[in-house]
């Protein structure tokens, strides 16, 4: 009888393991003390300090800019990639498929350094544009992956019926594909967006002098010390990401 409790026990321990640090972060973000060791009182001071920090605002804005550009372009490239992979099965697609899937397993440091070398070799100065190029490269794979999953559930005969009825590809795209695949596309886009705002290693490697994004900012703050203000920043960051995830889940949920 005892052993059947084991999986449950391990699962509970794992859940505690997962949420302990997060819970502590949230707690500490309201801690008045400067050093996390003591609790001196409940306070919103870190949140208000956050509000006043111009450098953090700038980093946030940069992060968003990069993410939106990268998301937009990777959504286009990713959808086209997914469509081709789904519809065709030639040798070209085999090559295509391995190139789309590979970034998913490669450690990001490898991708970062390879692009760094490319830009150095070509004498391209590092800037936000180089960051955006990198983000697009890995986002395309994720968008393609999500869309490919949706396409596999898609009923091909609808397209055939539409062509039979005389619709051209433009019409088919507008009135069948986009509405039905829209949620999947949006989910892929949200995924790309989240990955982009989250990315650290690749962004760090490809940032020019003085370019900061939010993760880079957090990293440099962490490098020197552990200012309490990071707790507040983390809580806000977490909430935003959670909101995005929940939104995207609503979109991919299969219709009843």
């Amino acid at each position: 009888m005892k052993l059947s409790r084991m999986p449950l026990l391990v699962s509970l321990l794992v859940l505690i393991f997962f949420y302990l640090p997060m819970g502590m972060l949230v707690l500490q973000s309201f801690n008045q003390a400067r050093f996390g060791g003591d609790w001196t009182g409940f306070s919103f001071r870190w949140y208000s300090e956050l509000w006043a920090r111009r450098d953090i605002h700038e980093a946030t804005w940069n992060t968003l800019r990069i993410a939106m550009t990268a998301t937009a372009i990777s959504m286009v490239l990713g959808s086209v990639a997914a469509w081709c992979l789904h519809r065709y099965s030639s040798r070209l697609q085999q090559l295509h498929r391995s190139l789309v899937y590979a970034p998913l397993v490669i450690p990001d440091i490898l991708m970062g350094i390879s692009l760094l070398l490319l830009f150095v070799h070509l004498n391209v100065p590092l800037s936000f544009n180089t960051i955006i190029v990198a983000h697009i490269t890995f986002c395309v794979s994720y968008v393609a992956l999500v869309l490919l999953g949706r396409l596999q559930d898609f009923d091909e005969s609808m397209i055939e019926a539409a062509r039979d009825l005389g619709a051209g590809w433009g019409t088919i795209l507008r009135r069948i594909l986009l509405p039905l695949l829209g949620p999947g596309l949006a989910a892929g886009g949200l995924l790309a967006f989240t990955l982009s705002i989250d990315d650290f290693v690749i962004t760090f490697l490809l940032a020019g002098p003085g370019d900061t994004t939010l993760p880079i900012k957090i990293f440099s703050m962490m490098r020197r010390s552990s200012p309490q203000i990071i707790n507040a920043l983390s809580v806000i960051f977490m909430s935003v990401t959670f909101a995005i995830v929940i939104l995207s889940q609503r979109l991919i949920r299969p219709k009843p």
Binding site: L3, V14, L92, L110, I113, L118, F200, P215, F237
Partner: protein
């Protein structure tokens, strides 16, 4: 027919060309540039040479490679060992509850991973609450360091990768026929024996996927050893970053990256080949396809 192929090529071109230009070519570039000398003021030098590779013979590097391998392996082992019972538990929950359980597991993953590392760094801090608790329980000395060593790195590595291990394990567990466990018990197996002899082999494809998903990215860790590790717990990723930022010795960084790429490529190919073999086997064997 001709017309068809044109369409395919035109459509495939944008993503394909992008990936070739910004993924495939740069990856090849790493190999190439590892054979160049370092420029005096940083960057890529003008000559072709083997010196860069020779400098890898410095005993520092094999030690780091070894440490990277064993930390990644330990992390993978821990993730699978913990992931199996969790996957089992979720797969046995009533259907409606399962997606909530999965969401609960996945949610922490959706925070920025630097934030997660930060959270652990605070938790493990010598003046932090966790240390105080352990001392109070008699499990640690006052002077013990929880942070800035290999164990902290391992802990945070596991923390970061565990959700990735649980997902494929769960996907396999969901397809598993739990009636087989009843059969095992009927024949005399204890619950532990049934778990080890029937459940674990039954989800082995999931285990393989989990292994690939954890081991390979773990090899390339940079931020975790940088932020919670000490000088004695550096991994390849740190060394690569050091060569880039501290010395600007790009060729050496390339060489190290090639080593990392090989370390990634070998298990990846092995894993893909194994998965194909296992996958085919399962289709023809009783239709229990994972």
């Amino acid at each position: 027919m001709r017309r068809f192929r044109w369409t395919e090529w035109i459509l495939t071109a944008p993503p394909l060309l992008w990936l070739i230009a910004f993924f495939a070519l740069p990856t090849g570039l790493i190999l190439l540039l590892s054979f160049r000398s370092a420029a005096v003021h940083g960057g890529i030098g003008p000559e072709w040479t083997l010196n860069t590779w020779k400098s890898l013979a410095d005993p520092v590097y094999p030690a780091i490679i070894w440490r990277t391998l064993w930390l990644s392996a330990a992390c993978t082992g821990a993730c699978i060992a913990m992931g199996l019972p969790v996957a089992y538990w979720i797969a046995r929950l009533p259907r409606r509850v399962r997606s909530w359980a999965l969401l609960l597991i996945i949610l922490p993953f959706w925070t920025n991973f630097l934030i997660r590392i930060f959270a652990w760094r605070t938790l493990l801090h010598p003046d932090g609450a966790l240390k105080a608790l352990l001392v109070w329980l008699g499990l640690a000395e006052v002077n013990d360091q929880l942070l800035y060593n290999q164990w902290a790195v391992l802990l945070v590595l596991v923390y970061t990768h565990l959700p990735f291990a649980i997902l494929p394990l769960y996907a396999a567990a969901e397809r598993f026929d739990f009636g087989l466990l009843d059969a095992a018990r009927d024949l005399g197996a204890t619950r532990g024996q049934a778990f080890a002899r029937v459940f674990v082999p039954g989800v082995r494809v999931g285990m393989l996927t989990a292994l690939l998903i954890v081991f390979i990215p773990a090899l390339g860790s940079y931020a975790i050893p940088e932020l919670v590790g000490g000088p004695g717990s550096e991994m390849i990723g740190n060394k690569i970053a050091q060569r880039i930022f501290n010395d600007r010795n790009l060729p050496l960084a390339s060489a190290l990256s090639v080593v990392l790429a090989v370390a990634v490529f070998l298990p990846l190919m092995l894993g893909v080949w194994l998965r194909k073999r296992l996958g085919d086997g399962l289709v023809s064997r009783g239709g229990h396809l994972s």
